[in-house]
Symmetry: C2
Subunit: 277 residues, 2 copies
Amino acid sequence: MCPAKVTGGKPRGWIIPIGGGEKKVSSSTILSRFAELSGGDDARIVIIPTASQLDDAGHRYETVFGEMGVRRIDIVDLDTRESCEDSGQLALLGRATGIFFTGGNQLRLSTTLGGTSAAQTIRRGNAVGVHVAGTSAGAAFICEHMIAVGKSGPTPKRGMATLSPGLGLTNRIIVDQHFRERDRIGRLLTALAYNPFATGVGVDEDTAAFIGPDDVIEVFGSGGLTIVDPSDLVHSTMAETHQGKPVSLIGIKLHILIAGDTYDLATNTALPAAAQD
Amino acid sequence: MCPAKVTGGKPRGWIIPIGGGEKKVSSSTILSRFAELSGGDDARIVIIPTASQLDDAGHRYETVFGEMGVRRIDIVDLDTRESCEDSGQLALLGRATGIFFTGGNQLRLSTTLGGTSAAQTIRRGNAVGVHVAGTSAGAAFICEHMIAVGKSGPTPKRGMATLSPGLGLTNRIIVDQHFRERDRIGRLLTALAYNPFATGVGVDEDTAAFIGPDDVIEVFGSGGLTIVDPSDLVHSTMAETHQGKPVSLIGIKLHILIAGDTYDLATNTALPAAAQD
């Protein structure tokens, strides 16, 4: 799936991958920024707990957003492909100003929502201004190219990351989450090495990349955001190497950003917080 | 990568995955149809042999297209990422009316062209009418989601197909080639099961799917085209199953098409040759 076509003059909504493990309290800068963007008290937030198998996955966020003053919060149970065609659920998605995917298993999201009217409604909404956030598995799912599963470790190896089509709100980035906590730079490098056209975004726990309609990322939260920019890659052995073997990559650029820093995906430029206007 | 935005009133060029092993003679209905679409005698055909490591990969096609009367044929050696930024090569790509990718290894294409000006030029060209064909590895590469490597066999199993971002001329389909010859229905089903939003197109050897600007596929050549339509999928165990284990999929639709048949990707409708106007 590709970014839905923008139909009017409305800017795209924000796209917000969160690294998982974010503080689920009303003082969270990540969750409160999402609620504010979505309209604050007047927001209509829809929570999608599909990735999780825990009964209370959606309710914890409902409580936090409620404590922030958001009055209209719905948990939409998209647990089967049939439910992704339900007119009542689609109406709730269609009215949302902000949509939030919980964590769990990203393949549950792609196999349940992929190709359904629910996915189409979210894509069209985002194209005309609805903000879409996802944490952990939800973060992996929102992009065009999703890391479905993979192995830990620093050195990229062929086959270390398994890609799947995701929701497709953007194809400029490939996201990996729980980034330092689960030692995932190797699998993100592997995913990028298959085709070095995208930018890698490794998101630590309790950290988020707020990607604006202008494709500038703003970092929020207590951890780091690792940007892997392969645009100057000059050499790669990915095509020649065997499954499970290390891959040589020459010319990757790396930035570690923290709260307040920004990264412009259109120009591949990182700016420290101190340099902001 | 996603289909480049169409900038004017010009229709998109044809997208033509060929299953490999096509007859490299001037009587080939596949190669002659491609040459005709590209302008016949007045065509400007560019051949990209990047996928292959054989020196004569491009020259065999140059000879055949020449025998058909095409006067302007260039072999563009995009063998390094640096060469994909070369202004001379880009000028040739920019003037082409038809672009042809040879077979070989699709990861050589994605790792060499991915994110470069050459890839961008081809994408922009196709969006305004340049026809792009690829055989074997070239067929795999031209779509947004490319099967990079995989295993043979009829039953889909988790991990049986490794996906990579491709050139991205369309994301409506996932292509597999040498389809019956290498027993690949299992890996195509696996690729679709990760996210059942796309349509699977399995292309036998000496067979091609000519995908028009209206997203209707016309079948050419001596073999079969297998369409795998997961749009009515009701059940999938992909998210729960373990690596290497079989996947249950209920509700897949299958069509086997031959030369003259068509398939409309927008409406998921197959029409036999006899029913054409």
